[in-house]
Structure formats: structure tokens, C-alpha cells
């Protein structure tokens, strides 16, 4: 398998605070890779740095062999990387369909129409609510919309930041099942989660972050049974 995303020696600062400390990791094409760790471990910061919203002081970020260390955030999607930000960040004041149109902003009109149909087939709930203002959707529907929006351009890599946040357990199950299916249909996934158990169950590999550093990495199945991971993140 080819390496799709390669992060080498990432160091990110918020002013004097050293938030990400020399992080390196790879994502192979076709994988689900998860970054787990407590709140404040630097997981979201890593995604934002890959997106170009923050800059790493050192090292490099490569996607499909091309250096994207200094990419402008708005060029990311054109490279084939979609980022579903923390808190979903759907456009609350736009309709459901307009949100999807924004997801396909860089595509041709005919492709947008087909991609919207595709999302509606996967999430019939969204089709029922297509003319509704997105801010009136439930949390689960908003997460579906955020994922649907990220799928509009058929990106090769989707980075998801805490898709389980604020959702009822049954919805979390559904969203993770969906992420798994999305991956099975050929999309590589980089998943940031506090819900380590759920994330590791669908992931191929995982990295454990603690205060900005990777402290453990390995196959998801091994991390699930690892004693220290169990203790720290899986509730014993």
C-alpha cells in the first residue's frame, strides 16, 4: 500500500505554548487511522496544521508524495483532502442543500447535482430536509450533513475531528458504521477521537497522543487490548 499522508516532525505553537511536539505519523491509502488522546492532547491542532490553518515550525507534511506544508486552506480540498472540523461547523444559516453545494464549491455544476443525489441516497433524512435551514437539524443530522458535505468532491482522504461529539450512543454507532462503509468504498480516513474505544474498533491503526506527543502507536486491535491504553482511555 502506498503512503497517502505523511507527517514528519510536526511542531506547533500557540504563542509560547508548545501544543504539538515532534509528531510524525503516516496514513496509508485505504486505511482508517485514528489519533486518540485526552482533551488538549493536540489532536485537533494536528488536523488544523495539515489543513494549513496552523503552521508547523519544523518538518514536513506530504500528501500523495507532494509537499503540502505551506498549503493555503482553501486549496486543500482541490488536493483531495476534506476536513470535517470539530463541532461539525455546518453553515447554520444556509439550507441543507446549500451546505452540500458549498461542499461541492470547487466542482462543476453537473458533478454537484450528481454528488448531492449520492449524499441523499446515503442519508435519506437529509433529502427530506433539503430545504430546511441547517441550524434547525438535530445533532445527528448535522453530523450526517457535515460528512455528506465532505464527500461532495469524492476526496481521497477525509479527516474527521470528533464525529461522536455530543451525540447519543445509538447515533455514535450509526456514524461510526457509516465511516466504516465510507472507508470500504475506497476513502481513506484520518479520525480524531476522544471516544477511543469506538475509534479503535473501526480503525486499522492508531496513535495515542499525550500532551502533544505520540506515546504509543500500533494496530488498533493491539491498542484495544493494551493495558496502559485500557487504563487511560478505555475505562480500565
Amino acid at each position: 500500500m502506498a503512503t497517502l499522508l505523511s507527517v514528519k516532525d510536526m511542531n506547533v505553537y500557540y504563542g509560547v505554548i508548545h501544543a504539538v511536539k515532534g509528531v510524525s505519523f503516516d496514513v496509508e491509502e485505504g486505511e482508517i487511522v485514528t489519533l486518540i488522546g485526552a482533551n488538549g492532547a493536540g489532536k485537533s491542532t494536528i488536523l488544523k496544521t495539515i489543513s494549513g490553518m496552523l503552521r508547523s515550525k519544523t518538518g514536513s507534511i506530504a500528501f500523495d508524495g507532494k509537499d503540502i506544508s505551506n498549503i493555503e486552506p482553501y486549496k486543500l480540498l482541490g488536493m483531495g483532502i476534506a476536513h470535517v472540523p470539530e463541532g461539525r461547523c455546518i453553515f447554520q444559516r444556509l439550507t441543507v442543500e446549500e451546505n452540500l453545494e458549498m461542499g461541492g464549491y470547487i466542482s462543476k455544476p453537473a458533478e454537484v447535482a450528481a454528488a448531492i443525489e449520492n449524499v441523499y441516497n446515503l442519508f435519506p433524512r437529509l433529502k427530506e430536509r433539503r430545504r430546511q435551514i441547517a441550524g434547525t437539524l438535530s445533532g445527528g443530522e448535522q453530523q450526517m450533513l457535515a460528512i455528506g458535505r465532505a464527500m461532495m468532491t469524492k476526496p481521497r482522504l477525509i479527516m474527521m475531528d470528533e464525529p461522536s461529539m455530543g451525540l447519543a450512543p445509538i447515533l455514535v454507532q450509526q456514524i461510526f458504521q457509516f465511516i466504516k462503509e465510507l472507508n470500504a468504498s475506497g476513502t481513506t480516513i484520518l479520525l480524531v477521537e476522544q471516544n477511543a474505544h469506538m475509534a479503535l474498533r473501526i480503525a486499522n491503526r492508531g496513535y495515542v497522543l499525550e500532551t502533544g506527543r505520540i506515546v504509543l502507536e500500533g494496530k488498533a486491535s493491539e491498542l484495544l487490548t493494551n493495558e496502559s491504553v485500557k487504563k487511560a482511555y478505555l475505562g480500565g
Binding site: S51, M53, E72, P73, Y74, K75, L76, L77, G78, A82, H83, P85, C89, F91, Q92, R93, L94, E98, E101, M102, G103, Y105, I106, R149, T153
Partner: protein, 291 residues
């Protein structure tokens, strides 16, 4: 009859306020800046159309188009040079910069054209329709018709087109808009160009009615349009339209039935009442600050 006549006059000047208020509101929506230099774009537009017609002998329609283009470009340049470098600074810095830009524009024009007012000779034929013993001038009708057409076009642009939707997305959440592949800088430039272009149209319509052009003419006009934008709910496009019309009518009725001298006092009284009673205006959203 007099009452209807006053209302019509109010709608005429109100339509001009509305065009200017739209610029305030759209710019506020997208960069959260009260662009106090916006009124001076009207002043620039007035000088531009006067210059193009009297000095370059352009026909009125060409002069109007050239004025719109000129003001749009100036709007983009102001944003790039003065506001963009401050995009991540405190809002008060932006506000003070906007006031600085306003003074800069006024003084630059004064330096070039002196402080003496210029007279603009309208290109709209005089006369009009008579209804009863009153006549409604062509200027009034044309001002209202053009403003109405522009507002319809703008509403369609913002609600239906790709760039309009991008403007709304950026104004709601510019970081996420970037992740959609929307070039936020270009969208902001477009918004400034659009707002300044509307101010240019307002300028041409204004000088056709009021003929006098001076370096400080934009201050009061801009301030009234700002009151209109706040009344309608700053950031809201229909709000700016409604606010502009209401302010125009309020001004006209005050002049007609109370006293000309009190007209400005009434307008700013409205501003104070709106800020006290409903700071979000008619259609404004009470958004909390996003961190």
C-alpha cells in the same frame, strides 16, 4: 396629496440610503467591520461622475459605468491596503482605521479639487408626471425604479448564485468556508467591490437630485445610511433595504410636517431608540462572538 408626495420624496432619498446601507451591511456581515469610509465612496463616486462627464466629456451612461468600476476598484484597494492587514487584530483597530481612511479620502479629494463645491448638472430630463396639482419628477421615478431593480438583482445574486452563497458561507464561518475550497480573500474583495459599486450608483442618483458635490458630502450621507443599516439589522440585506426606506420617509415627513432643522435630530433619535430597545434592528441576528 401632500402627504403622498412627501412619502414619495422620502422613498426617493430612502432608496439612495438603502443602496448605501447595503454596502455597510454586506461588509459588516463578511468582515464584521463598520466601514466608516463607506460614505466617502459616495463622495468619490460623485466627483468621479462629475469628472468623467464635464472634464472627459463622456456621455452619461458611460460616465455612470466608469464611476461604478472606479468605485468598485477603490473599494477593493481600500480593503487590501487598509483592512486586510488588520483582519486578525482587535476590532477597534479596524474601526479606527476605517475612520482614518475616511479622513484620508476627504482630504485627498480636497487637495485635488479644493474645498469649493462643484455643481453637477443632472442628465435626467426635468419635468415629470403631474398628479393633481403636484408633479412627480422623472428624477424621483428613475431613482426609485433603478434602486428597486438593483435590490431585486442583489437579492437574487445573494440567494441564488454560487458567489452569493459563498458570501453567505464566508460571513457565517470563514474558516469552514476555506475548507470548502472557497477563496475567502476573493470573496471579501468581491463584497467590497459590490458594496462600493452600489454606493457609486447611489452617488450618481444623489447628484442628479441634489447637484452639489463637496469633499465632506459623504459623511452625513454615510451616517444616515449607517442608521438605516442599524435600524434594519446590520448584516441583513432586506434589513438594509427596509431601514433605508424608513429613514428616508421619516426624514421627509419630519421636513414636511415638523421642521427641516429637526430632520437630522429625528434620524439620530431613531438610532438611539433602536440601540436602546432593539440593538439587533428588524432583521439582525443577536450572534454571540465566535472564538
Amino acid at each position: 396629496m401632500t402627504f403622498l408626495y412627501q412619502i414619495l420624496n422620502g422613498i426617493q432619498i430612502g432608496a439612495i440610503y438603502a443602496l448605501v446601507a447595503l454596502g455597510y451591511s454586506m461588509v459588516y456581515g463578511i468582515v464584521k467591520l463598520i466601514n466608516f469610509a463607506h460614505g466617502d465612496i459616495i463622495m468619490l463616486g460623485s466627483y468621479a461622475v462629475w469628472y468623467f462627464m464635464t472634464r472627459l466629456n463622456m456621455p452619461w451612461w458611460l460616465a455612470t459605468i466608469a464611476t461604478i468600476i472606479f468605485c468598485s476598484i477603490v473599494g477593493i484597494i481600500i480593503e487590501k491596503l487598509a483592512y486586510k492587514p488588520l483582519r486578525n487584530s482587535a476590532r477597534i483597530s479596524l474601526l479606527i482605521t476605517a475612520i482614518g481612511v475616511s479622513l484620508f479620502l476627504q482630504n485627498t479629494v480636497q487637495l485635488i479639487f479644493t474645498a469649493n463645491p462643484k455643481m453637477f448638472v443632472t442628465f435626467i430630463p426635468s419635468g415629470g408626471f403631474s398628479i393633481g396639482n403636484r408633479s412627480i419628477s422623472y428624477t424621483t421615478l428613475i431613482t426609485i425604479a433603478i434602486s428597486a431593480a438593483i435590490m431585486v438583482a442583489l437579492t437574487l445574486l445573494v440567494s441564488k448564485t454560487k458567489i452569493g452563497k459563498a458570501m453567505r458561507a464566508v460571513s457565517e464561518d470563514n474558516r469552514t468556508a476555506q475548507l470548502m475550497g472557497i477563496n475567502v480573500d476573493n470573496t471579501i474583495s468581491f463584497t467590497f467591490a459590490l458594496g462600493s459599486g452600489l454606493a457609486a450608483v447611489a452617488a450618481v442618483l444623489y447628484v442628479c437630485s441634489y447637484s452639489q458635490i463637496a469633499p465632506t458630502m459623504g459623511s452625513m450621507l454615510g451616517l444616515k445610511a449607517f442608521v438605516a443599516a442599524v435600524l434594519g439589522g446590520i448584516g441583513s440585506i432586506p434589513g438594509a433595504m427596509l431601514g433605508g426606506l424608513l429613514i428616508g420617509v421619516a426624514e421627509s415627513l419630519t421636513k414636511g410636517y415638523i421642521s427641516s432643522q429637526l430632520a437630522d435630530a429625528v434620524l439620530f433619535g431613531i438610532l438611539i431608540i433602536v440601540l436602546l430597545v432593539k440593538p439587533t434592528g428588524f432583521f439582525g441576528r443577536g450572534d454571540r462572538e465566535k472564538v
